[in-house]
Amino acid sequence: MSDSVSVRVNGKPVTVRAGATVAVAVLAAGATCRASVTGQPRSPLCGMGTCFECRVAINGEPQRRSCQVLCEAGMEIEANG
């Protein structure tokens, strides 16, 4: 099993360690996760699935909590730039 996994965050290739969450890939890409209802950039607060600040679109599906989803090779992640 490979010890790293590559995904794309806003089209940009990012490699993280195997078992890393999508939230980690977003932060590694230098992006923030979502834009708040008034347009502020947000990133993970709780890291454990309760705060919903880390929402991104994964493979086209919006509103996914990125801290609760593990990276899979080739995932397309759309975050708030």
Binding site: V24, T32, C51
Partner: protein
Amino acid sequence: MDSVRHLSFDVAVVGAGPAGIAAALAAADSGVTVGLIDDNPAAGGQIWRGVQSAPQNSASSIWFQRLNKSAVQLVRGARVFHAAKGELAAESDDSAIQISYGKLILTTGARELFLPFPGWTLPNVTGAGGLQALLKSGLDIAGKRVVIAGTGPLLLAVAAYARKCGAKVVAICEQTTRSRMVRFGMKMLLVPGKAPEALRFAYELRGIPHWTDCWPVAAFGSRRIESVRISRQGQTSEIECDYLACGFHLIPNLELPRMCGCRLESGFVHVNEYQQTSAPGIYCAGEPTGIGGLELALAEGEVAGYAATNWEDRAKHLFAKRARYGKGVRILKDAFPLRPELKNLARPDTLVCRCEDVPHERLREHGCWRAAKLHARCGMGPCQGRVCAPAAEFLFGWQIDSVRPPVFPVRCASLAAVPSHSAAARN
């Protein structure tokens, strides 16, 4: 269209942290069918998050080995959003899940209390446990400057962990007083098993400033945090940092116990000596019954698992162990009361509800949580008040009294899959 999975267990355990794992294994000792259901991608809860990838050198490995060898069915990535008598409704990424059970054990764990201050919504301002969870999930923090703030021994654990991951921990800001902190340290040394842990932390944290009477006043930055202003023994100063990890105690996850009708006492699920709640056939163990940490959660979980399978003798054998680990809890409670100054950190325009961007001034004008929800949309976003309700409770003294299904935002298809008799049974 989503598929619907149907599962049936003699004992269903919700929450696969240490308490849930211990409960599931104890219940499985009787040979009954046991389901262990968890929202996360892997078992372990928060304290054992991500450790399965390196099990050989962790204290948790024996539990994971037992779990992997057991007949317990682990249902991962499943959010339980509804509970009725004998039935749970959950949702995974691709399906709705109907779970029927004979006995239910709730081991839903805890989350952190976050307190609003100007700038707390900036990216890279995280929870204390939140930062640790991200590190366990693979975040690379090597060389980053980290300030850790809030209260309680969790700050020390997080600081030690962040340092081990290569972070430069600039300071630990503890809001409690120096005298309380010293008294806490002395008392913990007398609790069995805690002295080596305390000494280990002292060693691992050598050279890192640990300031008491110290808390964050404001965070600054354009797209992410760049510095934090702290108050330290009455003086303010500014520290540059890449991350601010901030947690003001753990608070129990009570959404499911509440929905199941379990009686609460002083903010925790009331249980008898067998970990049985006031709701028939429903047990509770770990942090929802009182914040007590790993060992206590394991002991409570085992008691619950045996009690739920009518193995009272085995449960009774664990009472002494459970009582021993219960000691540290009381010491913790006395040492870290939140100081009133923390109620005044939020400015009128500081957001309290991060989902709906509701500022403090829009909340303050209401007399209770319900009014604030109805008029200001506070707590009406996807987190359903998991962050802002406990903050509002602290800031305004409001009682947060209601919970209703679904306790997580879910897809319509998952809602539609809830049997109508089950949905009606609630009301």
